[in-house]
């Protein structure tokens, strides 16, 4: 299995500011993803983080709001830009590992005031 860490684990931010979330994996992986979990809801895929090219965003998510970097096969960042209270969520990264199993990081709990 893959071991995934995220930083920060939680943060409280003011509206209008931006937060960058880091995701580190203990082994090289091809596929990395970012998900959002709004309060009391299930997970929704934000984008696929592609190494060496732009991320692929899902419907309803745009690069200006959620810029993503993937500089190598073990690391990715997600930035939540110009935050509003509606961005308060848990943000999780995941990796697709051996035989299609996907593993998730511990999540970043974001509260926007």
């Amino acid at each position: 299995s893959a071991v995934i860490s995220q930083k920060p684990s939680r943060d409280i931010c003011q509206r209008g500011t931006s937060l960058t979330i880091q995701c580190q994996v203990d082994s090289q992986v091809t596929m990395m993803f970012w998900y959002r979990q709004q309060p009391g809801q299930s997970l929704t895929l934000i984008a696929t983080a592609n190494q060496g090219s732009e991320a692929t965003y899902e419907s309803g998510f745009v690069i200006d709001k959620f810029p993503i970097s993937r500089p190598n096969l073990t690391f990715s960042t997600l930035t939540v830009s110009n935050m509003s209270p509606e961005d308060s969520s848990i943000y999780l990264c995941s990796v697709a590992a051996y035989q299609d199993t996907q593993y998730f990081g511990p999540g970043t709990r974001l509260t926007v005031l």
């Binding site: 299930s42 996907q102 998730f104 511990p106």
Partner: protein, 114 residues
């Protein structure tokens, strides 16, 4: 958009009882995965079942898959208070361009009382 519907949305049982959660999905799939989430933390992977499998076991967990009905169930036997959590099913979709993306069900909140 959400692929799966899970029922029940919430389930409360006594320790030692069995808990059954169901998941339905809409499109053809390659595999279906079940996850557990404790108190809004990260997701713990429980089990993956492929479209050509009908049943899979892992410890106290038993997962079934019926592709003709597009449904899956997760059974936890002899439940413990530590099993209290939210449980999600996730499917990968079948189209080649899905590239490993997961679509999650709405989840079942399980409460196991001592």
């Amino acid at each position: 958009s959400q692929q799966g519907e899970e029922d029940p949305q919430a389930l409360s049982i006594q320790e030692g009882e069995n808990a059954t959660m169901n998941c339905s999905y809409k499109t053809s799939i390659n595999n279906l995965q079940w996850y557990r989430q404790n108190s809004g933390r990260g997701l713990v992977h429980l089990i993956l079942i492929r479209s050509n499998e009908r049943e899979k076991h892992s410890g106290r967990l038993r997962v079934t898959l019926d592709t003709s009905k597009k449904s899956s169930s997760l059974l936890i036997t002899a439940s413990r208070a530590a099993d209290t959590a939210s449980y999600f099913c996730a499917t990968d979709g079948f189209r080649e361009n899905q590239g490993g993306k997961l679509i999650f069900g709405q989840g079942t909140e399980l409460s196991v009382k001592p």
